[in-house]
């Protein structure tokens, strides 16, 4: 007779970057059901819209999460600018693309290290964080901050990145790309890594669609969903296609992220060729307040994020609502964990790239 035991996973666990709690119902070593429970880093950031005016909410939006902070700031600004019906200068839009794609590369390299650490490959973890320092140096030279950049504002950017700086950045991109490839090739091609990731955590395409999976979790199952295809803020005019893999297991999701790193370098190079001199800030007159409602959809490294802003004509927003990609990926995670072995749970949790600070705001 098989007996069921319940094993708590998290909130303190060596593989988790942020605390989430899962109650795993086990029969011997097989996971039968996983019940999530969140709320360990809930800060109630959405209520701060009542206290801070809409210009200052950029600082709050950037600090929702440390890994995806640049794109949170950019997404908030895109939503606020749509409510104000203003158009930012072209150079600002292109610089936002460069900062956003560098941030995406850094997030995927960080994830690669965490996944390797999840099954004990610590040397790859240490090397990937060494490569991440190269990218953070590029970003610190351009924007002034390593993790929180503070470069977006409603109306454009707070300061310009001049052409000499962009030339220096372009000169270093080849070196950084070679280092990134040296890290990610073992993650995809090495046979011992493949033994841990191929066939593990299967998410068939119809179930991924029904459960509302977003980002590489959905693209690894064959759904071609990428919010950058909407063509917002500097992305229309660039040549690229969403990266899709059909394996629907952990290996496919890892392959999507690895190929996205190469795609991001290509997008940065395309933008650097297309950028022109010009203004970077559209000064919003004091007294102009957002009115109406709009849901901006931006692609974060982890998937599609929705910034729903509602303004009522005053300087404080009526509602500031962020639906982050990991919140949408919780249901697919619960589905993927059914039927897996206990030792595969850390690997599966890490392949959705959990960013729990984003989930709980």
């Amino acid at each position: 007779m098989v007996q069921r035991t319940i094993v708590p996973f998290g909130p303190q666990h060596p593989v988790l970057p942020e605390p989430i709690h899962l109650d795993l119902v086990l029969e011997d070593e097989l996971v039968v059901q996983a019940i999530p429970s969140i709320g360990y880093v809930h800060r109630g950031l959405e209520m701060l819209a009542a206290k801070k005016d809409y210009h200052e909410m950029v600082y709050v939006a950037e600090r929702i999460c440390g890994i995806c902070s640049a794109i949170h700031g950019i997404g908030y600004c895109i939503a606020a600018e749509a409510l104000l019906q203003v158009e930012i200068p072209e150079r600002a839009a292109r610089l936002r693309v460069i900062i956003g794609e560098l941030s995406r590369i850094h997030s995927h390299i960080l994830w690669a290290g965490l996944l390797a650490d999840g099954f004990g490959f610590e040397s790859l973890f240490m090397h990937s964080w060494r490569v991440r320092e190269l990218i953070l140096d590029l970003l610190e030279e351009a924007t002034g901050g390593r993790v929180i950049f503070g470069i977006s504002k409603v109306g454009g950017l707070r300061r310009d990145i001049d052409d000499a700086q962009l030339e220096r950045m372009a000169g270093k991109l080849d070196l950084v790309e070679r280092e990134c490839r040296a890290i990610t090739d073992p993650l995809i091609n090495d046979s011992t890594v493949k033994k841990r990731t191929v066939g593990v955590g299967k998410l068939p395409m119809e179930i991924a669609h029904l459960l509302g999976a977003v980002g590489p979790t959905a693209r690894g199952s064959g759904l071609a969903l990428d919010a950058r295809k909407l063509g917002y803020g500097g992305y229309d005019g660039l040549k690229w296609e969403p990266i899709v893999e059909t394996g629907a297991d952990c290996h496919a999701r890892s392959a999507v992220r690895v190929r996205e790193i190469t795609q991001s370098f290509d997008l940065i190079r395309q933008t650097l060729k297309a950028i022109r001199p010009g203004e970077v800030d559209l000064k919003i007159k004091p007294g102009v307040n957002p009115k109406g409602k709009y849901a901006a959809r931006i692609e974060q490294p982890r998937g599609e994020v929705i910034y729903y802003l509602e303004g009522n004509g005053t300087a404080n927003l009526q509602r500031f609502r962020v639906r982050t990609p990991t919140f949408a990926n919780v249901a697919p995670l619960v589905k993927m964990l059914e039927g897996c072995q206990l030792a595969d749970v850390p690997v599966i949790v890490l392949t959705i790239d959990p960013c729990i600070s984003c989930t709980e705001r």
Partner: protein, 129 residues
């Protein structure tokens, strides 16, 4: 560069029609994007957003504050359990027919319904002092 603002339809529906509409959308291949609740002061708006082929459609319910009940769509869209538990926890709403119901304990929090506080609690001051 033209500013990109996508047109997003808002369709107002009654709360009784919601489960039937969700079942029809699932059959047509729409995917659930998010469920948001806005505290408008005297009533609550709940918005259910669905997407197909990069087109976003919002379905809006208007709920009075003294009768905060919505039917659940988690029988069709299992992913909605996370959003509907959030409605219960943060706004004090009651969702009927939830497949995975945490009964207000999905988020570990100290206060009851922090985004829609009961009448005796003080509202936060608007604007910076």
């Amino acid at each position: 560069m033209t500013q990109f603002i996508e047109t997003q339809e808002v369709v107002a529906i009654a709360r009784e029609e919601l489960p039937a509409r969700a079942a029809q959308l699932a059959k047509d291949g729409w995917r659930i994007v998010h469920v948001a609740c806005i505290n408008q002061g005297d009533h609550l708006d709940v918005i259910y957003a669905f997407d197909k082929g990069y087109k976003l459609v919002n379905y809006k319910l208007t709920i009075a504050k003294d009768d905060p009940v919505v039917p659940s769509i988690s029988a069709t869209y299992l992913a909605a359990f996370a959003y509907e538990n959030e409605l219960q926890d943060l706004f004090g709403m009651k969702v009927e027919g939830l497949v995975l119901d945490f009964k207000g304990k999905f988020y570990r929090k100290r206060h009851e319904a922090p985004f829609n506080p009961p009448a005796c609690a003080a509202t936060p001051p608007a604007g910076k002092a």
